[in-house]
Symmetry: C2
Subunit: 96 residues, 2 copies
DNA sequence: CACGAATGTGAGCATACCATCACTTTCGTC
DNA sequence: GACGAAAGTGATGGTATGCTCACATTCGTG
């Protein structure tokens, strides 16, 4: 049972990486152990935890979280700050 | 503000697709509008909502959710049922 | 029914993710 | 400091994702 990782907001890849790492450490697992249980490569676990790659595949992330007895929940976001709104306007309609 | 989509568990790609679709419809946006705002292709929005592809890129999903004023939260999963445990044992250590 | 808007589908191509292997660096313990 | 385990890095190659364009289908309204 997770105790420290409880309803942490996940807005970025880095958030997700930190969350996975936290869950893994709470269970006392090594990266290799997590990789084996989730059926992914250890290399991939590292890149996920460090947020080195922007486009990690969602299905693999979900498999890892399931193995870690963690769960994602989707809900309304708290109202953004004025600063966040300004940034959002800057990137409005932009293609990356 | 989202009203219907509130803290829905997301365990599979299909869950995510349904969640995104729900958030989009609550805002009254078309797929094309969502795609433009999030900077992704309309084709991709469709495949995400229908869960046609297992490995959608997490960064794009997060961008879409941000645009939709939705948020993912990571927390402990409720204890799995006996049936879920049996299935998990079947696939223990399996590579896909 | 007719019409338009929204949604869904197919093919082709570029890109980047991921697995594997080997190696290096960090960390903890003695 | 020495040792081993864990964590991190680099390169390579296969492959699936995602973008674009064009077309088909469904849906809602008059």
């Amino acid at each position: 049972m997770l105790t420290f990782v409880t309803n942490v907001p996940v807005r970025t890849i880095a958030d997700m990486g930190a969350g996975v790492r936290g869950c893994r450490l709470e269970k006392g697992w090594t990266q290799a152990e997590l990789a084996a249980r989730a059926g992914v490569s250890r290399r991939w676990v590292i890149t996920l935890e460090k947020g080195q790659v922007s486009g990690v595949e969602l299905s693999k992330v979900l498999r890892v979280l399931t193995v870690l007895s963690a769960e994602l929940r989707l809900g309304p976001a708290p109202a953004p700050s004025a600063e966040e709104l300004a940034v959002a306007r800057l990137y409005e309609g932009r293609r990356w």
